[in-house]
């Protein structure tokens, strides 16, 4: 049975697509799935860095598509998790080095060998984006709870619908519950009201993510923070499990006091 090809996209840059791709891939692999991560951000590749596999790149996606390298030789096997592979992008080329048709063929080939093919889309709506979605049947849209990011996510949703990738699912990244409480940040309902797509998960803002991406160790592999837990829940939902959404409220002093005194929330 062919695997699921899912594109992770956003429109806006810097909202967490690459981090999400890395963590979802690692999370699925730790559940025993065979996962291939594909970095479609040609020219500005980051997935290799975030996965800590930069030093092991020999061949890249463009060379495979041009016929200079075999797919098998370009795939980098992650030594930390069984069944997790990365197909890196080229850094010295540009987005037009690959066509959507080539991406489609490549994804089809990968889907025959893997349970999941996760495609990390570049920011934007032009050639790079069109390449990234060409081979995908499903989409995950990543946004932060900020007005500009939600605008872009809405645009992307419209474009995905026009390309017949229906039912994209949403990950809201970098939520800060304290800011939401103060009214300084959009809350989950505000975002869903505009985007009106199914919510896959909410990942709270967490410093440990920055540490993890800098170290090249996806958080989900070892982390205990709420962000790591959020990613693990998202992975389970991808697999079809119904996982209730975590409460993201911080355990502030007052709520701890209340709990201590037996007065519930």
């Amino acid at each position: 049975m062919a695997g699921r090809v899912i594109v992770i996209t956003s429109g806006k840059g810097g909202v967490g697509k690459t981090t999400t791709t890395a963590n979802l891939g690692a999370g699925l692999a730790s559940l025993g799935r065979r996962v291939c991560l594909v970095d479609a951000d040609i020219g500005l590749r980051n997935l290799d860095v975030v996965m800590g596999l930069e030093n092991r790149i020999v061949y890249d996606l463009v060379e495979v598509v041009e016929g200079h390298a075999r797919l098998r030789n370009a795939l980098i096997k992650d030594k930390r998790l069984d069944g997790l592979y990365l197909l890196p992008a080229a850094q010295t080329r540009e987005k037009d080095a690959v066509t959507p048709e080539q991406m489609r063929a490549l994804c089809q080939q990968l889907a025959e060998e893997f349970d999941y093919v996760l495609i990390d889309s570049p920011a934007g709506i032009e050639h790079g984006f069109r390449n990234a979605i060409a081979g995908a049947q499903e989409a995950i849209i990543v946004t932060t709870p900020e007005v500009a990011a939600v605008r872009d996510a809405d645009r992307i949703t419209g474009l995905l619908e026009a390309h017949e990738i229906s039912n994209p699912r949403l990950i809201i990244n970098r939520l800060r519950p304290q800011m939401v409480r103060r009214g300084d940040m959009m809350d989950i309902e505000d975002v869903i009201e505009i985007l009106a797509i199914e919510l896959l998960g909410v990942v709270p803002d967490d410093e440990s993510i920055i540490v993890a991406t800098n170290r090249g160790e996806p958080l989900v592999m070892s982390g205990t923070s709420k962000a790591a837990q959020a990613y693990r829940n998202i992975v389970k939902r991808l697999e079809g499990e119904e996982v209730p959404f975590m409460s993201l409220e911080q355990d502030g002093f007052m709520s701890r006091l209340r709990k201590l005194m037996g007065i519930g929330r």
Binding site: I125, D154, R155, G158, L159, E161, A162, H163, I194, A196
Partner: protein, 261 residues
């Protein structure tokens, strides 16, 4: 028909017909059709037209060429002969409730999406569904006002939310069953009715009709225009509207009131 144009677009009950003049040279016909299709590109995208060759082309040789040309501009060519053209006139600006003004149906277009999504986007709006809707409304339009019967006007019904970057343009009025998200645009010559939240940019009465109105269940546009007037929400945070509202022009300014049917 004034002058002797090689190609004339005519609105009629079922949609738009391309009438080819009997005596013009085929070269002139192709040139004229290409020019007209290019000039009206946004209006026509996704719609369907009928080719009327009259007595000119019994073997359908020329028709085949013209079909390809029409298709190249994103239109489809329909063949049914059930309706004859000539009921409506190829008039000019849309007069609200002015009886036999059939001009609004000059272009039975869907909406144009962004580059790369145009065709699929227009299909979503339902090219053929649009012709059926237009046809139904034409029945009401064809008859002159007599004995107090209601006179309708051309109106486009869109049954989905408009997302950021999508633009809906129509010669007539527009009803949207859904939201208009920020970054989306609605431009039409008549009224705009949004059965949802209007959060994008809207321009009603785009050809100068100061009587045009914008009605929404939640009127929260980033910018609202009627005819040549432009208005935007005040800079301070306004509370969300508590019910349906209508924007209209009074004393040369756009005013917003609670909508009372």
């Amino acid at each position: 028909m004034q002058g002797k144009e090689a190609v004339v677009f005519r609105g009629y009950r079922g949609g738009v017909a391309v009438q080819v003049d009997r005596d013009a040279s085929f070269g002139d016909v192709v040139e004229a059709l290409r020019r007209k299709l290019a000039a009206a590109e946004n209006f026509f995208q996704g719609g369907s037209v009928r080719l009327e060759m009259g007595e000119r082309d019994p073997d359908q040789v020329e028709a085949r060429v013209l079909r390809e040309l029409v298709r190249a501009y994103g239109l489809t060519v329909v063949d049914d002969e059930e309706d004859t053209p000539g009921r409506g006139t190829n008039g000019r600006s849309l007069q609200k409730g002015a009886g036999a003004s059939a001009s609004g149906v000059r272009a039975a277009g869907g909406f144009s999406g962004s580059a790369g999504s145009g065709a699929a986007g227009a299909n979503a709006a339902g090219g053929s569904g649009l012709s059926a809707l237009v046809g139904g409304l034409y029945g009401a339009l064809g008859s002159e006002r007599s004995g107090g019967e209601p006179v309708g006007e051309p109106c486009l019904l869109v049954r989905r939310t408009l997302r950021s970057g999508q633009r809906l343009q129509f010669d007539g009025s527009v009803v949207i069953l859904g939201d208009v998200n920020p970054g989306a645009e609605v431009v039409c010559t008549g009224h705009v009715v949004v059965m949802g939240a209007l959060r994008g940019v809207v321009h009603a009465g785009a050809r100068g009709d100061m009587d045009a109105r914008v009605i929404a269940l939640r009127l929260q546009p980033t910018q609202l225009r009627i005819a040549h007037l432009i208005s935007r929400p005040p800079d301070e945070q306004m509370p969300s509207p508590s019910g349906p509202e209508v924007a209209l022009v009074q004393d040369e300014r756009i005013q917003i009131e609670a909508y009372v049917p």
